[in-house]
């Protein structure tokens, strides 16, 4: 579903991604781990089209919601989203003055328009979103507030999950979704990610910690270092990393 080939990118004069290769199949869950500053979060931003990053080489193909393969790097940020890419942000941006419910409807309707289906009016969307929040088991009170502006750190992360469930993307890249969550919130968010996963979509979870991956169990774990993937393994490596850190992998990767 997603094929990343030799992807390199820089911000300003600093080269951050240095040849990332990754294949993601529909129905799979991937984790990306790695030390601070290794470029994990940058990968998410580059895929989504963040204006601060410049792609210096490589390709990123997504088998999008319309069925055809699209080169993400040639699309505007909003088009990438419409084709089925979702980024769950580590620090969701606050947009005061924009009501969360209205934002969700605008976002959903933009997708409807893209697929040529009828947009939902206010009342229809309220029904639609009520089903979503009730099946998630959280989020209903966030809807009346301003987008992320009146939400706590944990609520912002849950709000990202609401957006994920509304947009139902092909590929969700969840960037440190677990950071800043207490144990209960983590269980809630992890449980929701499991419920929203199906055979037609895929996850890439960028994380530092074992704890999210114990709930949302990845099929593959990629270890990131110095702007590229140095090791791919099954999830048993998560425990090993938790115990031993990254140094042994880095040394091995560089030798």
């Amino acid at each position: 579903m997603l094929t990343i080939k030799n992807l390199s990118a820089k911000t300003g004069d600093t080269q951050i991604l240095k040849g990332v290769n990754l294949d993601v199949q529909a129905g799979s869950k991937h984790a990306i781990m790695g030390p601070n500053g290794s470029g994990k979060s940058t990968l998410a931003k580059v895929l989504s089209g963040h204006p601060d990053y410049e792609v210096t080489s490589g390709e990123a193909w997504l088998e999008g919601t319309k069925g055809e393969r699209v080169n993400l790097l040639e699309l505007e940020a909003f088009e990438r989203s419409l084709h089925g890419l979702f980024i769950g942000f580590q620090y969701p941006v606050e947009v005061p003055g924009v009501n969360n419910l209205e934002f969700l409807r605008a976002s959903f309707n933009s997708l409807c328009e893209f697929h040529g289906s009828a947009p939902l009016d206010e009342e229809e969307f309220k029904v639609f979103i009520a089903e979503k929040t009730s099946s998630l088991g959280f989020g209903e009170p966030f809807l009346a507030r301003d987008l992320n502006a009146d939400l706590s750190g944990g609520e912002k992360k849950r709000n990202e999950i609401i957006q994920l469930s509304v947009l139902n993307p092909k590929l969700a890249v969840m960037d440190e979704t677990d950071s800043g969550l207490d144990v209960d919130a983590l269980r809630e968010v992890g449980g929701a990610l499991n419920n929203l996963h199906h055979s037609e979509n895929a996850y890439i979870m960028v994380t530092h910690y074992e704890r999210l991956l114990e709930i949302v169990k990845p099929d593959f774990v990629h270890v990131f270092h110095d702007g590229k993937i140095i090791k791919t393994a099954d999830r048993s490596i998560v425990k090993e990393i938790d115990e031993k850190g990254y140094d042994w992998l880095i040394e091995k990767g560089q030798s």
């Binding site: 089209g49 505007e76 941006v93 947009v95």
Partner: protein, 479 residues
């Protein structure tokens, strides 16, 4: 990668075209002869000429106000043409057949068709072109309800008693430099009288168009709502794109008797000058409403998106007990525009209330100031005010200021003031982009959110137009 793409090039000012018509123009400059000539052209009664002369003599002794937060090049008032009308139109034409086809086309192009077949339904339009009203629609239907809606020139001739009773009573010519100037030279504008107990059957509107080069527009509007009546009034403004500055100094007076209600909405899109700040309209406007009667209600809604300079403070004098004044404003500045705008709420009567919502959006190198006065007089027992004053900054070279003043002379009042400042950032645009919203949609969502309380006060057709106007102006700025 960046948000800059070809779709966000400098949007043209759609209304910036010039209409080629033969005009009768007075010589440039101002003198008693010019004023006498204006009055003569308009076939005015003597009281009007006297008023103009008094105002002119007073004006000569005044200097321009300097207190606003505006950098203005000195204005050469003798370099302005005070009167220009399309040929053979010194007095408003009897029918649209007498109006130059080019002028009708102009208004049609601006979305205000005047002809019987095409005119807007549900809203009566008075169309003012330079110094003269070229036509007023739906007059007959309105007359059936006793509503008088015509150009102010026609009102001076046809309804002198009403004009004499009310003109200059809410805004006396001595009020300020520009009201004195306007009173001396005003050439046209709209007049409306809603008789006792009548709910005006349709919205009334005036569309102001400046066309001739070097000409100032000095319009005068007077709206009177007699006891128990109500009216909703809209005004729109555009001008051609020119390198020189043009002067627009208007006076609007509203008068509400017992239990009467006036809603006055403006979408101002005068030409604002180019990116470097060259050209554009200097907009010096005095708007004031008097809630004269008990339970009367005046509401100002304005979307100020144009003009190089805006100096404007639509105000309410709350004289009648239990009367209510409202001010809803969005002022947007971009490029090098400057706006100093706000309101005054003068509470005189008992239990009067006022409500102020001001939203300022400044982008690029523009300057946007809110200036407000809430005054509670000794007799205004139980009076209440709520003020909310929000600024939004786009970019880091713009300026937003707020100057709220509260004068309270009694202990039984309640005054609340809230203020905030926020900023549209690239991060916010990116975040919304990443959720499938284009930059246009993202800006629209943010502007709608920010201005919601004001926009929803506009009549529906106007609100759609106003949002589009704001979006267009801002897309230039985030591009």
């Amino acid at each position: 990668m960046s948000f800059t793409s070809s779709r966000f090039h400098q949007k043209e000012y759609d209304a910036g075209f010039v209409t080629k018509v033969d005009t009768d123009e007075f010589p440039v400059g101002l003198s008693e002869e010019i004023i006498a000539l204006i009055s003569e052209k308009k076939e005015e009664p003597d009281f009007m000429l006297d008023l103009r002369m008094k105002a002119y003599r007073y004006w000569q002794k005044q200097v321009e106000p300097q207190w606003a937060d505006l950098d203005i090049e000195p204005i050469d008032f003798q370099g302005v043409r005070y009167y220009a009308v399309p040929k053979n139109m010194d007095t408003a034409p009897q029918s649209l057949e007498d109006v130059d086809a080019e002028i009708l086309k102009t208004f049609e192009k601006l979305g205000i068709p005047l002809s019987e077949q095409k005119r807007l339904t549900g809203v009566a339009v008075d169309a003012v072109f330079d110094s003269v009203s070229v036509g007023t629609t739906h007059q007959k239907e309105l007359a059936e309800h006793g509503v008088i809606f015509c150009s102010i020139s026609e009102a001076v001739r046809e309804h002198p008693a009403l004009v004499k009773k009310y003109l200059g009573k809410v805004v006396p010519y001595k009020d300020n430099f520009y009201t004195a100037l306007n009173t001396a030279v005003f050439s046209d504008g709209s007049f409306c009288y809603i008789p006792k107990g009548v709910k005006c059957p349709m919205d009334l509107s005036t569309y102001f168009r400046i066309n001739t080069e070097g000409t100032g527009q000095f319009e005068r509007t007077l709206v009177i709502a007699d006891s128990g009546s109500s009216v909703s009034y809209l005004e729109g403004c555009t001008a051609p794109q020119r390198d020189e500055n043009q002067l627009h100094a208007a006076v609007v007076e509203l008068w509400a008797e017992d239990n009467a209600s006036i809603k006055y909405a403006t979408v101002q899109n005068w030409y604002a000058g180019n990116r470097e700040g060259k050209g554009g309209i200097y907009n010096f406007v005095t708007k004031r409403g008097l809630c004269s009667g008990v339970n009367s209600h005046i509401s100002w809604t304005q979307v100020e998106a144009g003009s190089a300079i805006t100096w404007k403070y639509p105000s309410c004098v709350l004289k009648g007990d239990n009367s209510r004044g409202e001010f809803y404003s969005v002022a947007l500045t971009n490029n090098k525009m400057q706006a100093d705008t706000g309101t005054k709420m003068i509470h005189i009567g008992k239990n009067t209330s006022s409500y102020i919502i001001s939203k300022g959006i400044s982008a690029q190198e523009s300057k946007n100031s809110y200036r407000g006065l809430v005054k509670m007089g000794k007799g205004a027992t139980g009076a209440r005010n709520f003020t909310q004053c929000d600024s939004m900054l786009v970019g880091d070279k713009c300026v937003a200021n707020t100057y709220p003043v509260i004068e309270n002379q009694n202990h039984t009042t309640t005054i609340e003031h809230e203020a905030s400042t926020s900023k549209i950032s690239e991060d916010q645009l990116y975040y919304l982009n990443s959720r499938g919203l284009s930059t246009e949609q993202a800006v629209s969502l943010m502007i709608n959110g920010f201005c919601k309380e004001v926009i929803q006060k506009l009549p529906l057709e106007f609100s759609v137009e106003a949002v589009k106007l704001l979006e267009m102006k801002l897309e230039e700025s985030v591009g």
